[in-house]
Structure formats: structure tokens, C-alpha cells
């Protein structure tokens, strides 16, 4: 039968072509060439389908009922949760406060996940040992059991040893070897080492430097830093330019500084300001009786632990899966239309005061119905991130320092991975563990990167993560049990030149008519826990002041 014979020939030809092309496909899929088909997992993400409802609020239903509260907090990240806690501490009753969060759980960038092996972070995962002058933060940490006492002799705080990052803390994969610490040392030429030493000497000086206004040149929170022009002018140029001017040209140093900026800001040294680049180092003034200034506090769930503590330290309602989508003025205050995703209905919440603890691009959409004076048109550079949580049976180790908390590969696009099991006390490293791999997508413009990120498939992300990690952990792919991917489309604020000390940022943080208050790290320009906490405290205090002054 000719037709079937032709059919056979066609198939044979296809098969032959397949055989010929197969090696190429193998080559393409990933260098160490082991199959990923055994890996299970899925794609997660700050709920951008829910979030994107905000793009066309007109299609959401009209409110069917009304609720009344004293203070409504929109957004359940660190700033919103801190404001909620502070309002209660300052005397508001739980029923006077309501927090709405569009995601299925609060936490914002400090969200955490958990599987049978371990809890693990989806975003922020540590808090540097704080500046002991940050009394409010210390009070929170004391209440959370993170700070356990004060040393009588030195007066310095004593931290819970189980939460201080255990040694070995950091390692860098450089020249095929894991070295201790993240500052490149292995095989770095003497001239570069001298530059590195000069940079850190300068940082030590800047850490001690006080401006003409008596304030520290660099301090956390940003708001406490000196306004002295000699430091503020550093905000006008990119960090990379400043480094060039100062003769910091060592490729190893520049890699390290770039890594640091990407790690904390999601942006490169060329994208952030010199002030911000220096603040990253010189702003850290942590002191403790049982830790040094470079130490950090961390948990398997990352800052998900702190979020949970914030949540537990107050009792007012938190309504998740609830999208606040429009604000209106009423004779007594503000009305906020909130869409309940599960019930598919809209509730109008009227409140005397509203704290917008949302990123500014969300705030902008929500306030569209208010007068121009209420709005906060502050452009924010916001890089997308991808985070991959890998559940692995084991982690084949290369030569050098053993598995540490923070593990960074020199010269890669990612900022490395953290080991969720690091704070465990088990005697053995054997058995499954979860590692969290972070990659800021800072190479291109944020909008283009975001579009590209949304189009990248789960499989592609896993392939990219493993291709990188295989270089330091050959054979890792076969050990991966699960890979879960989270794409943060809107990541976090980057302190681009002019942002931190520009007039727009200061103006954006100002309350409006004693009714509308703003709390978010976007308003600090630096997205770290301390700033979120500071923003929440500040907004809560402004609300309380407004209530005390204007209402009674």
C-alpha cells in the first residue's frame, strides 16, 4: 500500500532528523545535561491577576454594604502591619482599626512559604543587628523575643542566639572555590586588594561622620540622616560615576559593590545614587553585646517571621483577598471601596483616617478619584525580581568553606541563595533542605524587564536558576525535588539619583487634610525592614496626632 509506505518513509525521515537534532537539543537545554522532568513545583507571584483588577476598577461591582471604622489601613506589608500595631499600642481599640490586603496573606515583600521540609522566604530574609538608638524597633524585637535583654556592663542589647545568623554566615564561589565572606579575596591582585581596603577604610570613616546639623551622615532610618549638603550632593550622581571619580576601579571591588546594590535595591551601581550606595555600608551601625555590627538576624521563614510577630502583636482585623480600589471623600472622612475577591462583592468602608501602606504605583490608581492635592505622583524605579525556592535532597559541595547561610557566585546575574535550614541545630547536613535563590532583573529598564518576566515560563526560570547553580554544585539538578518560582513584577524601590533627597519624596510623605496618610518604603527610597517599620510608626503617629488635634 503506497500511502502507508509513504507515511512510513515520512516518519522515518522525521525520526532521522530527530536523531540528528537530538544532541543539539540536549546541548541547548543546559550544559551539565541532566533532565529536569523529575522536578515538581509551580509558579507563584504577588497576585498580579488580583492586582491588575486595579487597572480597570470600573468593571468591579458597586458596593452592596457599608462598614464603618476609625482607621483603615490599605496594604498589609511591613509598613501597614507596623501602623496597625502602633495604633493599638497607642490606645485604639482593635475594632477601631481594619487592615485590607489584596493578597491571600499579609507580608508584602517579606512573605514566606512552607513545605514538608522547611519554612522558607519568598523575599526579604534578614534584619541586620539594629542601631541601638532605634528604640522603637528594639521594643518590637524585645516583644518578639528576638532581643532578650540588656547587658548590664555595656548597656548593649543581647539578642536571642537562635536568631542571630549562625556561623558560617557567608561565602563566595570564586575561581572554583568557596571562600569565606563575600568580599573577593581569592586570587585578587594586590593592587585591587589595596583599593578594597581603601574603600572599607572610607566606609568606616563615613560611618562615624557627623554632619553640620549634628546628625549622622548616614543612618537608618534614612530620615534620621544628616541634611548636610556635603553628603546630600552625593545623591545627585550615580554610584558608579562616583566610584570612577574616586579611583575605585578594581573589577573585584566593583563587582562586589554592584552585587550589594542589586542585593538591597534590585538595581546596579550605575542605577542607584552614590548616596544610596554608600548608605548601604555606612548606614549600618548595629551594636549588640553578643554580636557585632556586621551580624544579621535571620529565620527559616526569613522576614516572614517578623511579619508574623507584627501581626500577632495587634488584634484588629486583617482582611486578605480584599482589593481596595477607589477612595472618595465623604462629609466625615473617606470612603474606600474594597472588592472581596472570594465573595465577588464590593464593600464600602468609611473611615475617619486612611493609611495608604501601598506602593506608590498602587496608591496612584486608588487616589484617582480624589483632588490633585491628595495624589502622590512620585515616579519610582522598581525592578522586578525572580525568586526560586529549591527543595533539594542534598547540595553537592565544591571545595572550600562549607554550606553557609548566604552563598553567592561571583560574576553571576543572581545574588546567590540562602539556606533556609541554616539556623537549624541538627548535627547533620544530610537530608533534604530548601534553598532560596534570588535574582533581581536589573539589567534592562524595569518596564521591559517586567514584561519579559511575565512572559518567561516556569520551565525557563528553573532552567536559568539551575544552569547557574550547576556551575558551583555539579549534579545539583538530579537532587532537586521541587522548584517553586515567584516573580515579583514590581519588586521594590531603587534609590536612583535624586530620589532620596529630592523634594518630591519629602512631599509625597505628607498627610492630606488629616485624613489621608502614607506609609511605605517607597517613601524612604530604600526597601528594608527598618524603613518599612519606620514608615508604619510615622504614619500611625501622624494619625494619632491628627485625631488628638482635629477631632476632639
Amino acid at each position: 500500500m503506497p500511502s502507508s509506505r509513504r507515511h512510513f518513509l515520512q516518519r522515518a525521515a522525521l525520526g532521522g532528523a530527530g536523531l540528528l537534532l537530538a544532541p543539539l537539543a540536549g546541548l541547548h537545554s543546559c550544559a551539565p545535561g541532566s533532565s529536569r522532568s523529575h522536578i515538581r513545583g509551580s509558579m507563584h507571584g504577588a497576585n498580579h491577576t488580583t492586582g491588575h483588577l486595579l487597572r480597570d476598577p470600573a468593571q468591579l461591582p458597586a458596593p452592596t454594604r457599608t462598614e464603618v471604622v476609625d482607621v483603615l489601613i490599605v496594604g498589609g506589608g511591613v509598613a501597614g502591619l507596623t501602623a496597625r500595631r502602633e495604633l493599638e499600642r497607642q490606645g485604639l481599640r482593635p475594632e477601631q482599626v481594619l487592615l485590607v490586603e489584596l493578597d491571600e496573606q499579609p507580608g508584602g515583600n517579606s512573605r514566606a512559604g512552607r513545605n514538608a521540609v522547611s519554612a522558607y522566604p519568598w523575599g526579604a530574609h534578614y534584619l541586620p543587628v539594629p542601631d541601638p538608638r532605634n528604640h522603637e524597633l528594639l521594643a518590637f524585637l524585645r516583644e518578639a523575643g528576638v532581643l532578650t535583654g540588656t547587658d548590664a556592663a555595656s548597656g548593649l542589647p543581647v539578642y536571642n542566639e537562635y536568631y542571630l545568623c549562625h556561623d558560617p554566615e557567608e561565602r563566595l564561589f570564586l575561581q572554583g572555590h568557596w571562600q569565606n565572606g563575600l568580599v573577593p579575596e581569592l586570587g585578587v591582585p594586590a593592587a585591587e586588594k589595596a583599593q578594597i581596603a581603601r574603600f572599607f577604610t572610607l566606609i568606616d570613616e563615613l560611618r562615624q561622620t557627623v554632619g553640620s546639623d549634628g546628625r549622622d551622615a548616614f543612618r537608618i532610618p534614612v530620615e534620621e540622616s544628616s541634611r548636610d549638603e556635603q553628603f546630600r550632593h552625593l545623591d545627585s550622581q550615580p554610584f558608579a560615576n562616583w566610584l570612577d571619580e574616586q579611583g575605585f576601579t578594581s573589577p573585584h571591588l566593583r563587582w562586589y559593590l554592584d552585587y550589594s546594590c542589586r542585593d538591597d535595591y534590585g538595581a546596579t551601581a550605575a542605577q542607584v545614587s552614590a548616596w544610596a550606595g554608600l548608605h548601604y555600608f555606612a548606614g549600618r551601625k548595629g551594636r549588640a553585646h553578643n554580636a557585632n555590627g556586621a551580624d544579621v538576624l535571620t529565620w527559616p521563614a526569613g522576614n516572614g517571621f517578623l511579619v508574623e510577630q507584627l501581626r500577632q502583636q495587634a488584634h484588629s482585623a486583617i482582611r486578605t483577598d480584599t482589593v481596595a480600589f477607589a477612595l472618595h471623600q465623604t462629609p466625615t472622612g473617606l470612603a474606600v471601596d474594597c472588592y472581596d475577591v472570594a465573595a465577588r462583592q464590593t464593600i464600602r468602608v468609611t473611615a475617619r483616617q486612611v493609611i495608604m501602606a501601598t506602593p506608590l504605583f498602587i496608591t496612584e490608581r486608588l487616589l484617582a478619584g480624589l483632588p490633585a492635592a491628595a495624589r502622590r505622583p512620585l515616579p519610582v524605579h522598581r525592578a522586578p525580581w525572580v525568586v526560586v525556592n529549591l527543595t533539594v535532597e542534598g547540595l553537592p559541595q565544591g571545595p572550600g568553606q562549607p554550606l553557609s547561610w548566604d552563598n553567592v557566585l561571583y560574576g553571576t546575574d543572581s545574588v546567590g541563595y540562602v539556606d533556609a535550614g541554616h539556623q537549624g541545630l541538627s548535627l547533620t547536613d544530610a537530608g533534604p533542605r530548601v534553598v532560596t535563590w534570588y535574582r533581581p532583573l536589573s539589567a534592562v529598564s524595569p518596564d521591559a524587564a517586567r514584561r519579559q518576566a511575565y512572559q518567561t515560563s516556569y520551565d525557563d526560570w528553573v532552567r536559568q536558576a539551575l544552569a547557574e547553580l550547576e556551575t558551583a554544585h555539579p549534579g545539583l539538578t538530579t537532587q532537586v525535588l521541587r522548584a517553586d518560582v515567584w516573580v515579583w513584577g514590581h519588586g521594590m524601590v531603587a534609590p536612583t539619583p535624586g530620589f532620596v533627597w529630592g523634594a518630591a519624596r519629602a512631599a509625597a510623605a505628607q498627610p492630606w487634610q488629616n485624613q489621608l496618610f502614607f506609609a511605605h518604603t517607597d517613601l524612604s527610597g530604600i526597601s528594608i525592614f527598618e524603613e518599612g517599620f519606620y514608615q508604619g510608626q510615622r504614619a500611625a503617629r501622624q494619625v494619632l496626632a491628627a485625631r488628638g488635634a482635629g477631632v476632639s
Binding site: 537562635y162 545568623c165 556561623d167 558560617p168 553578643n290 541545630l425 541538627s426 548535627l427
Partner: protein, 530 residues
């Protein structure tokens, strides 16, 4: 390989049987020679099985003079039984002989691997050992009488006796020289045993294919023969790996037991004088002087606690500290927490080790828990009058956590009021900073400390730290149990004295977030690492 002296009195006269046999007449010339050659091989192999059994027994059970003497006795006696039994063999003697050789090849050949394997699993190892020795002896005892009967019609009696025994004794001489000089050093016990087994099977093969009268049963016996040879060869291939594994160059003595557990690698070695346990290549104890270590670890704390009822032992899965504790009849309960079930199982089941720890871990007062000590201490809610902390040295970050302030704070929660904890704290001579770091870390956790040290020849100067909440401790507070070989009130007083080369030095406190101790330990021991 320094072997035990093998004094050898070979073979009782196994009287030639008078039973007549019917072998076809006029065989070609070479066949008697072939059979005499077989005598030589058989004799060599027979003696080697005996040597293997004796060597293994002294490795595994200790006391080599005793073991060699009883093994030789049992073996020779079994040979006598075999010789006596030979009278009951009739019919085709050649067929019997070939079957016998295959059997000897299998039993003798697999004796060493079998004994090594069973040592770990069988509680009555001695029974298995002597059973196997007996069986091999009986089979070997059958060989010569049988051969003599086969050769009976080919030689005059005086020639027969003279030739057979000449080859027999030459074989014995060869065996006794080759075994310690070539075979054990080159092949190891397991492969030597398998090689001899294969030689016996080859003897069977030669007989089977060189004698025409074997034709009727060639097919059936040939199959068994090939299968046996194959089994021995496969085992030989495996043995090479196993042997290379067990007789690593790291150990100067004969390795008699190895096990890789999920947590560590246990290796027991043995020479005439002592038994040593290595954990991940580090000496854990030597049976020759472990009493010094364990007496020093346990008694200074226990003698101060005449009212003690409950004791916790962390680590110490060898049960040797528990052995010392059980000398205090007032104790009602001992909790032992060791991570490694492989370790505690070994010290609960192995004959030789049970003798060493005096069956301490099987005592009804003792509860053995295999758990991570850190988690266990944090989860447990009871209090102990005395806590013995006998962890491995802080050679890595995981173990370093068990020497941290945080751990000692958790430990303090488990200590009854007025109780004492004692911590093995590495060598104050070699690792002076490490030792004092442990002391300072205990102090940072709120303990009062009493450091002391003892000389343990296998280890050198070794350090311990008593830790309690008060200073009410005396070196002669209560009576010491009778029969101690090292610790007396005077010894305890002496142990408290630190000469200038071991005296206190300032150190950091070991915290989870600085692991100062692991770094000290690495630096202190670095110059001693090979």
C-alpha cells in the same frame, strides 16, 4: 602484619583406612602424581583455613593466645572427626573426593567473608565461629584419608604414607610462611580465604576431568563446580572493594569492623594489646586506657553527688561512661542520648564490646535514645542530678553548636538544683585555647566551672570541665566506688592543677553566630594534622 606466634603441631595421624576400593587397573602414570599434587594443595588450603579462623578469632574476640589455641584445638579435633567419618564413605571414592573438594572450597572459601559479615549482626558470634571452624575441620579431615584410599592400590603402603605426608607437611610449611608474609598483606583475609576456596574447587576440577571414570557424573558435578567457582570469583571481586575499604592505610592495626551510618563512619581496629574505635578517623577510645578517660569523666562529678538519682549522658554511645555510672548503686535512672543508632546498636550487641562496657547499655536502669542532642535537650522537661557531656571534639560547625552558650543555657535547664554537669573539652595541652574557650563559654552561660585534666596515653593530656551553679564541690565529697584504677581523691586534686603550659588563656566565648571554638580548634590542632 605482626601476626601472633603460630606454633603449629600439624595433624594427628589419621590412620589409613583398610577398606578396599575398586579402582580400574593400569591407570596412566601421571594420575597418581596429580593426586599427590592435590595433597599438596589441599594441605596448604586446609592449614590456611585454620590460620584464617585463628586470626579472625583473635581480631574479633581478642586475646590471641587463647583464641589461637582454642581454634587450633577445635579444628584438629574436627579433623579427627572427619578422619573417623571417612570410613563410612564407600562407592566411587573419586566422586566423593570431588564433591568434598567443592564443599571445602565453598565452606572454607566463604568462611572469612561470612565471619566478617556476621560479626556485626550476630550476638552469639562465638557459636557461629566455632561451628564454622568445626565444619571446615571435619571436611578437611575427610580429605587425606579419602585420598589415601584412592591411592591405596597404586603405591606400596610405606610409599603411600611417606609420600602423602611429605606433601602434606610441605604444604603446611608453605601455608604457614605464605599466609603471614604474602597472602594477608597482599590479599587480606577475605580474599585469601576465597582464593583457597577456589584452589580447592580447581583440585576438584582437575580430578573430574583427568580421570575417565568420572565420566558418568561429569555433567552434574561439572555444573556444581562451575557455579562454585563463579560464586567464589564474584565474591573475590567484591572482596577487593570491601577489603580496600576496611584496611584503609589510615589504620595501623587490623580493621575488624567498619560501618558507615548516616552520621559517621565507625571503624574498630585490633592488635594484640588493644581494641580501638575510630569515629570518622578520630580515635574515640583504646581499650587499653579508656578507663582513665571514663573514670576521669564520670567520678569527679559523681563523687560530689552522693544523693544523685538521675543522670543524663549526651553522646557516649559506647556505653563506657554509663559503665562507670552504674558503679553507683544509688542511681535509679540513666538517660543516654546518642545521635547514632549504628553506634549504640553495636555496643548493645557485639560480644567483645559488651565485655568492654560490661553490658552497660542493656542495664534496665538505662534508657537509650537515638536523637539529636540539641533538639532533645530543648524538648526534654525533666531535671538531672548529673549530666555527662561526651560529644566529639568541635571539629566542624555542626558539632560546634553543641559547645555554644545557647546550648549550655539549654543544658542548664536540665540540671537539677545542686547538680553538676561535666563536659569533655579536648586537650588543654594541644588545644589550649579551645579548652579554655569551652570553660569561658560555660561561664558565659552562667555556670561556675572547675576545669581539670587527666593523662590518657592514647590521647595525651585530656581536659574536662565541671560546671554547676555553685562552688560547693570537693574532691572527696563522697565515697568513690571500689575498684577504680585511676581516680582517687588524690588524683582528683591533682587533676585540678594546671601547669603553666596548659594554664588559662583569654578567649572569646563560643556563640552560634561566631563559632569561635571551631576556629580555635582548627588552629590548635592544625599543626598536628598530617
Amino acid at each position: 602484619m605482626d601476626k601472633a606466634p603460630v606454633r603449629r603441631v600439624r595433624r594427628t595421624a589419621s590412620g589409613p583406612s583398610s577398606a578396599a576400593t575398586t579402582l580400574p587397573a593400569a591407570p596412566p602414570d601421571y594420575r597418581p602424581a596429580l593426586l599427590l599434587g592435590s595433597v599438596f594443595v589441599i594441605a596448604t588450603c586446609g592449614l590456611i583455613y585454620e590460620l584464617i579462623a585463628g586470626t579472625l578469632a583473635s581480631y574479633l574476640l581478642g586475646d590471641s593466645v587463647m583464641q589461637f589455641s582454642t581454634i587450633i584445638g577445635a579444628y584438629l579435633f574436627s579433623m579427627g572427626i572427619g578422619s573417623w567419618l571417612s570410613r563410612y564413605l564407600g562407592g566411587s571414592l573419586l566422586r566423593w573426593f570431588i564433591q568434598l573438594e567443592i564443599l571445602v572450597g565453598l565452606v572454607g572459601g566463604f568462611s572469612a567473608p561470612l565471619l566478617f559479615l556476621l560479626f556485626e549482626h550476630v550476638s552469639s558470634f562465638r557459636l557461629i565461629l566455632y561451628g564454622l571452624v568445626g565444619l571446615t575441620g571435619i571436611l578437611v579431615g575427610l580429605e587425606i584419608p579419602l585420598l589415601m584410599r584412592i591411592l591405596e592400590n597404586r603405591f606400596e603402603f610405606k610409599d603411600l604414607v611417606s609420600r602423602v605426608f611429605t606433601f602434606d607437611y610441605i604444604g603446611a610449611l608453605l601455608a604457614s610462611l605464605v599466609f603471614p608474609l604474602v597472602l594477608v598483606p597482599q590479599l587480606g583475609l577475605i580474599r585469601t580465604s576465597l582464593l583457597c576456596g577456589a584452589l580447592n574447587v580447581v583440585v576438584a576440577g582437575v580430578a573430574l576431568y583427568r580421570f575417565p571414570e568420572t565420566r558418568p557424573f561429569r555433567r552434574t558435578l561439572g555444573g556444581a563446580l562451575v557455579a562454585s567457582l563463579l560464586a567464589l570469583t564474584v565474591a573475590f571481586g567484591y572482596a577487593e572493594r570491601l577489603q580496600a575499604y576496611t584496611e584503609g592505610l589510615a589504620f595501623q592495626d587490623q580493621v575488624i569492623y567498619t560501618k558507615t551510618t548516616p552520621y559517621q563512619r565507625l571503624v574498630l581496629t585490633k592488635n594484640q594489646r588493644e581494641l580501638r574505635l575510630f569515629l570518622n578517623g578520630n580515635l574515640q577510645f583504646s581499650s587499653a586506657d579508656e578507663y582513665r578517660y571514663h573514670e576521669a569523666l564520670v567520678h569527679p562529678a559523681m563523687q560530689a553527688l552522693p544523693q544523685a538519682r538521675r543522670v543524663l549522658v549526651l553522646g557516649g554511645g559506647d556505653g563506657l561512661a554509663v559503665r562507670e555510672l552504674l558503679k553507683y548503686p544509688q542511681l535509679q535512672h540513666i538517660d543516654l542520648v546518642d545521635l547514632d543508632a549504628g553506634m549504640t546498636h553495636l555496643f548493645q550487641h557485639n560480644q567483645m564490646l559488651l565485655e568492654l562496657n560490661q553490658r552497660a547499655l542493656l542495664n534496665p536502669k538505662v534508657r537509650v535514645t537515638n536523637a539529636d542532642a540539641y533538639q532533645w535537650v530543648r524538648q526534654d522537661t525533666s531535671r538531672y542530678d548529673c549530666i555527662i557531656v561526651d560529644f566529639p571534639d568541635p571539629g566542624n560547625y555542626s558539632i560546634g553548636k553543641l559547645y555554644s552558650v545557647a546550648f549550655y543555657r539549654a543544658l542548664e535547664q536540665r540540671l537539677a538544683p545542686g547538680g553538676w554537669a561535666v563536659v569533655q573539652s579536648t586537650s588543654p595541652y594541644v588545644a589550649r585555647r579551645s579548652f579554655w574557650c569551652v570553660a569561658h563559654t560555660l561561664e558565659a552561660a552562667g555556670f561556675t566551672t572547675l576545669p581539670y585534666h587527666a593523662y590518657v596515653p592514647s590521647f595525651g593530656e585530656w581536659g574536662f570541665i565541671l560546671a554547676g551553679r555553685n562552688r560547693h564541690w570537693r574532691p572527696d565529697a563522697g565515697p568513690l566506688p571500689p575498684g577504680l584504677r585511676y581516680v582517687t581523691p588524690a588524683t582528683i586534686r591533682d587533676m585540678r592543677f594546671f601547669p603553666p603550659d596548659m594554664n588559662e588563656v583569654p578567649t572569646d566565648v563560643n556563640q552560634l553566630n561566631n563559632q569561635a571554638l571551631v576556629r580555635y580548634f582548627e588552629e590548635d590542632w592544625g599543626p598536628y594534622a598530617h
